[in-house]
């Protein structure tokens, strides 16, 4: 393992969805061989571990919904970390895990997203280190994709709590929501679609250190996800 590079990514699992994760996005056989080890750990919203397990790196796709349903039945939101070790030759391409997400029995289109790479991934070798990646932002379309927006945050630290600032922009109006997360705790922060007649245009996230973070958009009636996306770093 001494020549390995480490990458820890994280996502969130809600019941009622098909949720598949492609373990290595590269399609060639050599890429699969370069994923040396992968361990998953599940956390309930308060941060308590629901179990850690090794995953067979030879499989192409992991049925994450089935795994979480078996290990954490009845938990409304589970944070899952993907603690991966790669042969360093796989870099500088960063081998994100990609995921498919679809509400069962829903006419909505499935969502595809890159599992949020939170720890490691040799950012200096993919030229990401010039960015201050604990400050992130997301711009919303003027025509909203969903009727309810949120920011889903998870603290991957083992010991350190974090105080984050979630800053919303509705037109010229700026509002700050402080969020405190204990180690491995995770939360959904509601982002109002409108404030004083102005639409939500932008959200910023500022923290001491990088968190697992996704913007969510949901239908008002079904609550089904129509947006599940990572934020963007914006300081260079």
């Amino acid at each position: 393992m001494s020549s390995s590079s480490a990458l820890c990514s994280a996502t969130f699992v809600d019941p009622g969805y098909d949720h598949l994760v492609e373990l290595v996005h590269q399609r060639d056989r050599a890429a699969h061989r370069r994923l040396e080890a992968l361990e998953l750990e599940l956390y309930e919203p308060g941060g308590a571990s629901l179990g850690r397990m090794a995953v067979d790196t030879r499989q192409e796709t992991l049925d994450l919904a089935a795994l979480v349903a078996a290990r954490a039945p009845g938990v409304a939101r589970v944070m899952v970390t993907f603690d991966a070790r790669y042969d360093s030759r796989v870099f500088p391409y960063r081998p994100h895990h990609y995921a498919y997400l679809k509400l069962r029995d829903s006419p909505d289109a499935p969502l595809y997203y890159a599992v949020n790479a939170t720890l490691g991934g040799v950012p200096e070798r993919i030229e990401a280190v010039t960015r201050q990646n604990n400050f992130e932002t997301y711009l919303f379309l003027s025509r909203p994709a969903g009727e309810r927006y949120g920011l889903r945050l998870g603290n991957l630290a083992r010991f350190s709590p974090v105080e984050a600032q979630v800053i919303t922009f509705h037109g010229e109006a700026r509002a700050v929501v402080p969020v405190t997360l204990a180690p491995h705790q995770h939360a959904d922060v509601e982002l109002p679609l409108e404030r004083e007649g102005a639409r939500l245009r932008r959200v910023e996230l500022k923290t001491l250190f990088r968190l697992a973070s996704y913007v969510t958009g949901r239908r008002a009636d079904s609550g089904g996800l129509v947006l599940f996306d990572h934020l963007f770093t914006y300081f260079k």
């Binding site: 950012p123 200096e124 280190v129 083992r158 250190f209 990088r210």
Partner: protein
């Protein structure tokens, strides 16, 4: 909010995923007064994800090392 800090059982765990630094390596470097170790200088400065744990561990390990020196 206070949380339990790192104990020796955490020593094999990876603290910085970018520089491949374990908790035990940081503990030992602080004890020996050799932090930062060669090649580990950018710990906490790359992906930044470990920065909270790194500062917490550095603070506690440095304090423990200082106390040990004072007791001699």
């Amino acid at each position: 909010m206070t949380t339990p800090g790192p104990s020796p059982e955490h020593d094999p765990l990876l603290l910085c995923y970018c520089t491949d630094l374990t908790i035990g390596q940081l503990r030992e470097a602080c004890r020996a007064g050799t932090w930062p170790l060669p090649g580990k200088e950018r710990t906490g400065k790359l992906c930044t994800g470990c920065l909270g744990d790194f500062l917490l561990c550095l603070d506690r390990f440095s304090a423990a090392a200082g106390n040990a020196r004072a007791d001699r």
